[in-house]
């Protein structure tokens, strides 16, 4: 009985690979379970919206996006990537929220001469030493966003800051990024256990005691909300100004508003994109996304939307011939699509060269918490690892 089941399962699994080849397929790996699924769902919504805008076609051919869940774990992400590459023989695989999932999945894609498009993660290795012609990014390199924040802190004359981030690679990158640019004094720095630690009482007490003028934090996902809450409860609003990267976004703001965390209002953040950016593609994206889901899209969603539009432009260039990897790569590099962030071009390491904006958390016309662009911090910024890349 069990044996028959196993044989049957294996046989059916083998069979399913042989059939079906009519739709053009693109893979998208993101996180659809665990609390981080909130980011993955936002990306999935944006991908679905992009496909809707494109009439269910990529490059004019009927197409389908195959979603896979990485379960927030690098080896699951790698297994799913293997499956898309080897079992489904898909040429372009996009997505990848997390640096570690991206790094685990990169080798099988490059070895099979397929194409990887990051819609979020931007670890320094892939931008520098291990850059690859089969890799493209519609997001940013980790260092860029905190560097923009450091630059803004210099411009606005902040003298001293306290830094808090989770103790994992991206967290350390963010802390290093701001320190690279910031000219004032860093009074102290705490790297907290990730992802387990959500109670920051000990660190906030230290930050308060340090006497720093402002606090810089990086807490993505669920930790962001927890941090804001405790920042407010510790009475730091007004005492220490809050500057964040990747901690406040379209996903967390409605929840923060429901939880009455008004400590976040007026706090500053930096990003390469904002829902209020003034261009046609962005207006359409934000309006349709809001109409469909009732909330502002997050920057994760914007990047995912861009990745599909980018793929569309490349598939059109090779006229749907997904076996033409060189043609696809050349077309991707051109980046001939209307990005929601306005101008978009790739650098030598296939990371975008783009503007970075200072954003502020405000209440919008409907009374919803949102963000607006305050100023442009960097124009056409190239990431600091591009010079290590030999492409």
């Amino acid at each position: 009985m069990k044996k028959q089941f196993i044989i049957g399962a294996l046989a059916s699994a083998l069979m399913s690979t042989a059939a079906f080849a009519e739709n053009l397929k693109v893979g998208f790996i993101t996180t659809l379970t665990t609390p981080a699924a909130v980011i993955g769902n936002d990306q999935k919504n944006a991908v679905d919206l992009a496909m809707e805008h494109l009439g269910g076609k990529l490059g004019g051919k009927p197409a389908e996006v195959v979603f896979e869940d990485d379960g927030f774990k690098p080896e699951i992400g790698k297994q799913k990537t293997d499956k898309l590459v080897q079992d489904d023989d898909i040429s372009i695989i996009a997505g990848y929220i997390w640096s570690n999932v991206l790094m685990a999945s990169a080798k099988p894609i490059f070895d099979a001469n397929k194409i990887m498009i990051s819609a979020n993660a931007g670890p320094s290795v892939i931008a520098g030493k291990r850059c690859n012609a089969n890799f493209f990014s519609t997001s940013w390199q980790n260092d860029q966003t905190p560097m923009a924040m450091g630059e803004y802190l210099n411009q606005s004359g902040v003298k001293s800051i306290y830094v808090m981030a989770p103790n994992y690679a991206a967290g350390k990158d963010m802390a290093a990024g701001v320190a690279r640019v910031f000219k004032g004094e860093i009074k102290g720095q705490d790297l907290t256990t990730w992802p387990g630690q959500l109670d920051f009482s000990a660190e906030l007490a230290k930050a308060k005691a340090s006497g720093a003028e402002a606090i810089f934090v990086f807490y993505p996902g669920k930790a962001g909300g927890a941090f804001m809450k405790q920042y407010q409860q510790a009475g730091l609003k007004g005492a220490m100004d809050l500057y964040t990267v990747f901690s406040v976004d379209g996903i967390s703001l409605p929840k923060m508003q429901a939880g009455k965390l008004d400590g976040v209002l007026g706090s500053k953040l930096t990003n390469q994109w904002d829902p209020t950016l003034d261009n046609e593609a962005n207006k359409k994206f934000v309006a349709d996304f809001k109409a469909k889901h009732g909330t502002y899209p997050s920057f994760y969603a914007a990047q995912a939307y861009d990745s599909i539009k980018l793929i569309d432009s490349a598939v059109a260039a090779v006229d749907g011939d997904m076996k033409n990897i060189d043609g696809l790569k050349a077309a991707l590099k051109e980046a001939k699509f209307d990005s929601v962030r306005g101008n978009f071009k790739f650098g030598n390491n296939n990371m975008p060269i783009q503007n970075f904006y200072l954003r502020e958390v405000v209440e919008d016309a409907d009374g919803k918490w949102a963000t607006k662009v305050v100023s442009t911090v960097y124009t056409d910024h190239v990431d600091p690892h591009a010079s290590d890349c030999k492409l």
Binding site: M1, K2, K3, I6, I7, A9, L10, A13, L14, T17, A18, L32, T33, D69, K73, P74, E75, K78, Q79, D82, K83, Q86, D87, S99, N100, M103, A104, A106, K107, P108, P123, N167, Y168, A169, K172, W194
Partner: protein, 331 residues
Amino acid sequence: MSAQKKAANLDEYLKAPSLFGFGIGRIMTIVLMVLLFILPLIAWYMGNKFYLDFSSRIVCLAIAAVSLNLILGFGGMVSFGHAAFVGIGAYAVGIPSHHGYESAWLHFPLAMIAAAFFALVTGAISLRTKGVYFIMITMAFAQMAYYFFLSLEEYGGDDGMTLWSRSDFGFLNITDKLTFFLLSYALLALCIYLVFRIVNSRFGMVVRGCNSNEARMKSLGYNTYAYRLTAYVISGAMCGLAGALMANLQDFITADTMTWTRSGELMFMVILGGAGSVFGPIFGTGVFLLFEEILSAYTIYWHLPFGVLLILSVLFIKGGVNGLIQRAWKT
């Protein structure tokens, strides 16, 4: 009492498990081992490399499960920290590679020695405790190892490290998926044979005797602590081997493989197959991974039916898949 007499006493006390089991168990195990060998080869022949890799994963994890079974199934030591050995084995491949030493003849022995050493140190402390204290202290040591490797920024830390080229065996090129599968399969067969020999040896009898009645073994004059510790170290070394293989299969090494949920999964593989039977863990690993693969293909909420399956198997399938088949055959 002479050593021979002691052994003779034990022989009556413990009936030796046979390599292939009895009746239907024998047929089933042979059939499954053959299937595990043939099906991937058919898939490979048909041009689908994914199922070859998938089978390699079953084989590698089966080695870990077999090693856990040695102490859990036969020795009654419920280790809730076996994932640590897998992780240590994996880093024994990754760390030398990072520094340019890519020989498999360095990686694999190092993996086993490092894991054995960790087993020796932690086992020496853990085995002083009993029951649930043992479950929890092994878990605590695994968590320590997890946080330790997490903090090694040089070796990727939280991001993990990509193994840009696999261990170099010289004459064997394990970058080739088929060669890798054949090598792991051979090592699995070797491990099974070793475990079989161990549990049927005088040493194995003592360890199993400790499981059934430690006081009795002590009264027979055995230093039960030393016997159990030796078994624990052997199991750790074997699990380190599984880790070295896993690292090469995944081309990626992460501390995540050492978290307590991973140890729980390994335990489940052993229990599902039937603890204390030489082949049980292979059943268990195969069924576990197949369920995971099939369920997760249908729904992202596959943890729900998977959890139900777990509870049902604990409530209703005593002795795992192996026991189930044995009973079905008898009735």
